[in-house]
Symmetry: D4
Amino acid sequence: MNTDIKKLLEGVRDGSVSVEEAVLGIKTAPFKELGFAKVDLHRKARQGAAEVVYGAGKTPEQIVSIARAMINAGQERVLVTRLSEEAAEEVKKSIPIRYFKEARIGLTGGFPEPDGIGRIIVATGGTSDIPVAEEAAVTAEALGSEVVRLYDVGVAGLHRLLSHLDDIMSASVIIAIAGMEGALASVIGGLADCPVIAVPTSVGYGASFEGLSALLSMLNSCASGVGVVNIDNGFGAGYLANMINHMASK
Amino acid sequence: MNTDIKKLLEGVRDGSVSVEEAVLGIKTAPFKELGFAKVDLHRKARQGAAEVVYGAGKTPEQIVSIARAMINAGQERVLVTRLSEEAAEEVKKSIPIRYFKEARIGLTGGFPEPDGIGRIIVATGGTSDIPVAEEAAVTAEALGSEVVRLYDVGVAGLHRLLSHLDDIMSASVIIAIAGMEGALASVIGGLADCPVIAVPTSVGYGASFEGLSALLSMLNSCASGVGVVNIDNGFGAGYLANMINHMASK
Amino acid sequence: MNTDIKKLLEGVRDGSVSVEEAVLGIKTAPFKELGFAKVDLHRKARQGAAEVVYGAGKTPEQIVSIARAMINAGQERVLVTRLSEEAAEEVKKSIPIRYFKEARIGLTGGFPEPDGIGRIIVATGGTSDIPVAEEAAVTAEALGSEVVRLYDVGVAGLHRLLSHLDDIMSASVIIAIAGMEGALASVIGGLADCPVIAVPTSVGYGASFEGLSALLSMLNSCASGVGVVNIDNGFGAGYLANMINHMASK
Amino acid sequence: MNTDIKKLLEGVRDGSVSVEEAVLGIKTAPFKELGFAKVDLHRKARQGAAEVVYGAGKTPEQIVSIARAMINAGQERVLVTRLSEEAAEEVKKSIPIRYFKEARIGLTGGFPEPDGIGRIIVATGGTSDIPVAEEAAVTAEALGSEVVRLYDVGVAGLHRLLSHLDDIMSASVIIAIAGMEGALASVIGGLADCPVIAVPTSVGYGASFEGLSALLSMLNSCASGVGVVNIDNGFGAGYLANMINHMASK
Amino acid sequence: MNTDIKKLLEGVRDGSVSVEEAVLGIKTAPFKELGFAKVDLHRKARQGAAEVVYGAGKTPEQIVSIARAMINAGQERVLVTRLSEEAAEEVKKSIPIRYFKEARIGLTGGFPEPDGIGRIIVATGGTSDIPVAEEAAVTAEALGSEVVRLYDVGVAGLHRLLSHLDDIMSASVIIAIAGMEGALASVIGGLADCPVIAVPTSVGYGASFEGLSALLSMLNSCASGVGVVNIDNGFGAGYLANMINHMASK
Amino acid sequence: MNTDIKKLLEGVRDGSVSVEEAVLGIKTAPFKELGFAKVDLHRKARQGAAEVVYGAGKTPEQIVSIARAMINAGQERVLVTRLSEEAAEEVKKSIPIRYFKEARIGLTGGFPEPDGIGRIIVATGGTSDIPVAEEAAVTAEALGSEVVRLYDVGVAGLHRLLSHLDDIMSASVIIAIAGMEGALASVIGGLADCPVIAVPTSVGYGASFEGLSALLSMLNSCASGVGVVNIDNGFGAGYLANMINHMASK
Amino acid sequence: MNTDIKKLLEGVRDGSVSVEEAVLGIKTAPFKELGFAKVDLHRKARQGAAEVVYGAGKTPEQIVSIARAMINAGQERVLVTRLSEEAAEEVKKSIPIRYFKEARIGLTGGFPEPDGIGRIIVATGGTSDIPVAEEAAVTAEALGSEVVRLYDVGVAGLHRLLSHLDDIMSASVIIAIAGMEGALASVIGGLADCPVIAVPTSVGYGASFEGLSALLSMLNSCASGVGVVNIDNGFGAGYLANMINHMASK
Amino acid sequence: MNTDIKKLLEGVRDGSVSVEEAVLGIKTAPFKELGFAKVDLHRKARQGAAEVVYGAGKTPEQIVSIARAMINAGQERVLVTRLSEEAAEEVKKSIPIRYFKEARIGLTGGFPEPDGIGRIIVATGGTSDIPVAEEAAVTAEALGSEVVRLYDVGVAGLHRLLSHLDDIMSASVIIAIAGMEGALASVIGGLADCPVIAVPTSVGYGASFEGLSALLSMLNSCASGVGVVNIDNGFGAGYLANMINHMASK
């Protein structure tokens, strides 16, 4: 950078560069070499996997046009999250997608072969948490992870969870999804010896305050090794879990 | 009441009662038969047990004077809660009290023989919750209940809790005390088949928001049969648990 | 558990069971035994009463299938909570249920004979709290408790509450249900000498913040012997009250 | 105003007023006749009573200097609120004040003869609320009202409150002061037929959140005729109550 | 009361009263003389005015039946608040009511002659606050107060408010109604020398948090003589203002 | 003012003015010269630009009548904010307005020539923030500023923002609009050397709590030179930015 | 960038660059030209003015060392904010600073000549807000703005504010500083026709919640042209106001 | 478990163990085995590393006794977190610990050789976040990870962060620690392609609400691959990061 600015100032001294041009040049110099390429190159190189489109608030036409551009650019698979059933019907007319209704996810290109370190467990406290869990599970599968689903293993019936101790003990990452009091994350965090990603859900009523109760519980987990994502953020959990599950192959 | 008011109005008609007197009479008639006796008579009759003085914000002199009045009135034992060690030293000079340091409770007259239906379990998630637990335990003991203490059985090390399943299964009431994420109440509520009184504590930091996290968790417990008291309210839990433990003898 | 495992060990001793088979049996035993059987055995033994299905978020088909399984397994009565009128109509086509519209509860098998220690009072501050109260009352009745309803006895007209002092004084448990400022729990807690279960409701407007005001009031009750459940959680209150009302028969 | 601005514009047309002067003139015209006199004249005229100095955050020297200026200006009495005991000692060296320790109020000139419509009742839920109550009571007395104190009449012991029904029924204004669940305001509001000023206090612990619980309760009071002031704002309540108590003499 | 209990105990001594009867008698004695009459007698005696029915959550049939009972009992006028236009149409078929659409109030019996000390000013910050203001105004008029409306005089255009200083200065009570930042209460409180009742409204967006912003502002008003009611509680403000306006005639 | 009051008092002394008249006169004197003219005159004089009508909660008829009055009074352009598409259709039948659908703004009179110091940059974190951004942009343009739009330059893809450094460095004011974590304001505030107006949006889900997360982020920005407006308040940001952009011409 | 990456890839093709080197190269390419110079060069060039050191949490030694480095680098003046009196004493031993006690600011090099467009008004609601105001005022002065102080002009005594209308009308920027209900910003925003920077302060008690009340008020201001900074952030307001005041000279 | 229970069963088969002894053994087995042994065995086997003692609220004597027991049990190193300097001095008298003052951590046995997949970057927004960062860094180092510290790289000076792109791009896990608006997590999350653990700190003032602002920001991060831990929870972040960094070696 020094050289660029030095030249610029010499130009000012020589009269070949006006002061106004130099002022603008000096202001923008530190950043001017930046460009667009990073994200795409990196992701593709590493994962040979899915590019993600956040579907909420986009029309089917917009989704089709973005996805088509990605496919044309050589992208093998495209993952569309928060995609309503109606929008999926529209998108299907233009692009062959497979639609996962509970997960609200559309996927082109099919699932890749799982190639991570191990398996990701997706566990839920109740049956109402399943849509969030499916978003997490399908996301992780579309990115190349093997996923095991343990649904409805909430702590009010501890035996259900404990009867799956083998799965819990052999997981590489566990996604613990729960609403209401969100205790599942702490109990799993205390049992497992792998990273746990906790997802509070807005399931509950009254003083659950649309997920706040579960969120605070999970942040205050007395178990070590627990990281928390936003309320109902199944995609974020699946994405982070897959990232961790692919650590070694990096 | 009708008769009273009728007489009053007849008095007005006759001139023997002024209008002003009648107005005041009519206003106060519905409530004028009320008195002071209820609380003391009831409690004493039922429990032969401790009368409670809330010690916080009272000087040792005030406490001594209240307690002495109760003793003189025939009260067998007096329980002083939220009593600091310094205040206890002062009180001891005038009245023979036994002081429970962790529970911050002073007691005259000693513990009664336990005579409830069964045993009250007082369980805590961690060692920092013990002062609240001792307040609950000593309260229940002073009111005539047998108490079993299970401390430091938080859900991050589930085996500690599960190794006491016999105690949990045979309790008449369980007081579950925890800070941080407060999951203990849900796990115990799922295991036990007796009433569970949940006490959130202000133990924790950051997003525990001085007990709010545990409070919301406990209110949202997915287990049935759980009632919640205020943050750090060991006395309230011990009092309610003892009340339930004496149900049958009523 | 003792019997089952004892048999297994006797089989090992006798040679009729191989060590490997026994290892597998024992591995799953603790949780199978601690497992599904627990709840049913305990509840059934004690109450001869209702098993509960949380109806919210379940299709009529799912409810029918769960209830039918329970009935086939010998369950005398099944209680379905948070059941909408439409869903109840659907369920009725397959299973004979009695539907309680205000309580949003469906019940098969009819009410059992009340067999608790005494009577449960269900009191509300206003008429808008009645749906929550009915959920509590029907739940307690379906589990075998006698219930007395005292509706619309809020503290703004204290005489309404005080005119029912007989009921209050003779209750075994009182469920105090109120929205707005939730003062009913404190006033009843000060009058009664039995456990009080407080249910804040989302009734109110403005700074009631959908039940938060009543919830905080009830948690901060200056009366002793009050436990709180979640906002609008009539079922939880009815369940806990019934549990307390059956203490002695345990 | 029209005339003024018209003249100004004619001046601009004539050249006798510059544009710059006119712009400034037009900008300030609507408000230029305002002055300082209002507050003092009004208050003095109406009440012949105390002028108020908010003592918190002021040095004893500042307080002395302000009070002296008021006295020199003919003010009969000066009320200094939120005055610490130490500061009061300092102020006393320069000005003869009477200091009310619990109320944290200093007063010069003594109490006036009460001359309102009736009496103001100052009621508290507990003994810890008394400092706030004294601030309210001394304020109202210094402004010329007769005050009756009913302390420690909280709703957990309803008989204490009901035994003072005569006072409650004959009050012109009632100040209801309570922390914790703040139910006192609703109960008094339901009994009395005069305006009730509710003062939440920061007394309590845990989920009282330093007065928030009582504040929300009082705002949501199901009784009509209740107005609320800020947490611990005894002065505000006393000032407003006195104002109402002097309505008729206006 | 002493006599009653004394007789009861003598009965026990004589054997004419069983112990069980005496226990029940002693429990209920303090309150047994209470009844229903208070509210109606008091209000009617004092105000010759409207009885209030809270219409929200009541069916037209329920409203008609309550109102008819009141009218039959000699009540001159009945005020129904929170009455939707549809419900009002239904009620009109049975009882001749006048319906105030913006105020959502129905009134039988017409307005009484105003007979308070002075006039109540109802002021709003904006036009969106008018429904709440009308609820306050019609309530106060139906109870016998004269009302002056000052709408849309928010502090962002201070001249609008100041041009009505005459009204403000001559009011007996002012109701200041505002959403958003709720500054109107402070500005009026600083100008007026009469009680101000502040009503926060849920008008606003974003960080107004449905009235919380205005509520906190009004509670923290730096002006003295301001009492606050619940968000959007026009009825409460009108009722309290009328009560104050009738102080002298009590 | 002195003169006025002096005259009044002389009148009282002479008997030509009654005491009652004088009291009223003294009360209202300080403010009586106020009027309505300020706002219109000032704004028009300075900006030759648009007068604003807040369209939300107004009927098309009301909007037409207000706008027509302004136009008749010589107002060149009128800006109607928060105008729904349906309302715009209605208004168009009476007044020729141009409607900006995303901005929900209607404008009569067309855009003025930009005449500020420089250019206003309107930047958004995502595409969902665009409606708020358009409200800001169209507002600033209607008031006479040149606007450059930089949409979807959120910090998760920093290169998108950095590739527009030239624009950022040469702006006179920047409006940074973002939901979710609202980091855009801090990053732009750290890069730019001009005032930044931050607008949190309600875009996001879960723990974004309808804009609270972005609002707190922006208020806590570690960058200097950032001022914040209300959640989703595009109009407020555009208005303030335009005001700053016209500083020099004042 | 294209060129760099192209060369890198050609190197890979030629074998002169290893794949590992190329991967690292591609990853870092977009940003590698960045450096440290921006902030210093820009600020100095534009303002000839003060560089800022945030003093809180820094030892006097650290402050001296940072300031000395700046001075050695040719910086004319250095502004140290949040500097305690004790720390200032220490710093003075090494560097000649002028210390502003109320503002908690230390300054080397003295104030520059004011050279902005106009004057900045710093107004406060009460005397307790003055420390925040002084931080704002000294900051703006040290950066080259002329400042006028209007302290204690809160809206409860509107005449105090209105008597300074000339100042308000002729300001280039106004900083409105207030705690409690924060209404000052709205009232000034409604009077003035220049940008208003609102600073909520933590002054107040009870439901002011340490500045939250004033913060929400200011964000919800019904006046246009108001931007808000963090609670007690006098420095931020002074910095932003100065930035706006120097707009034209940019 | 298999081996132990297998032996027991073989004993039964052989007749050397009675069925009753076996029943007792098996009853306690599942939790003894699931029990205390689990954590140690797993951790030790994998990491040859540190066992953790939470020091807060423990006396030096308690810490010494726990640590000594661990050491005697063969534990190579013991990590004591939240250890005050005074307590550390006391502990040192009995056990040779190395004390890290900023991290508030004591360590026996020294650091192990780093053996994870790669390096953990610990980045902070400001210098005030360093204590939390050191807690994270020392924790990760004590557990066997290599750590690189990037302190004071907050987003208000983006060039500081961008000049370390090499480190960011080559990390295996990044811990992003920031107070105030917490934007660091989003910016790093957008740049890096590895898991990011976000730690909000309580650094800030006013509306940072002791870390709430940063916490919400991080939960709402628009970047993918970010998990959040509790406010100021450096230990939790270091522990989780190390766990992820050792994924492949599992």
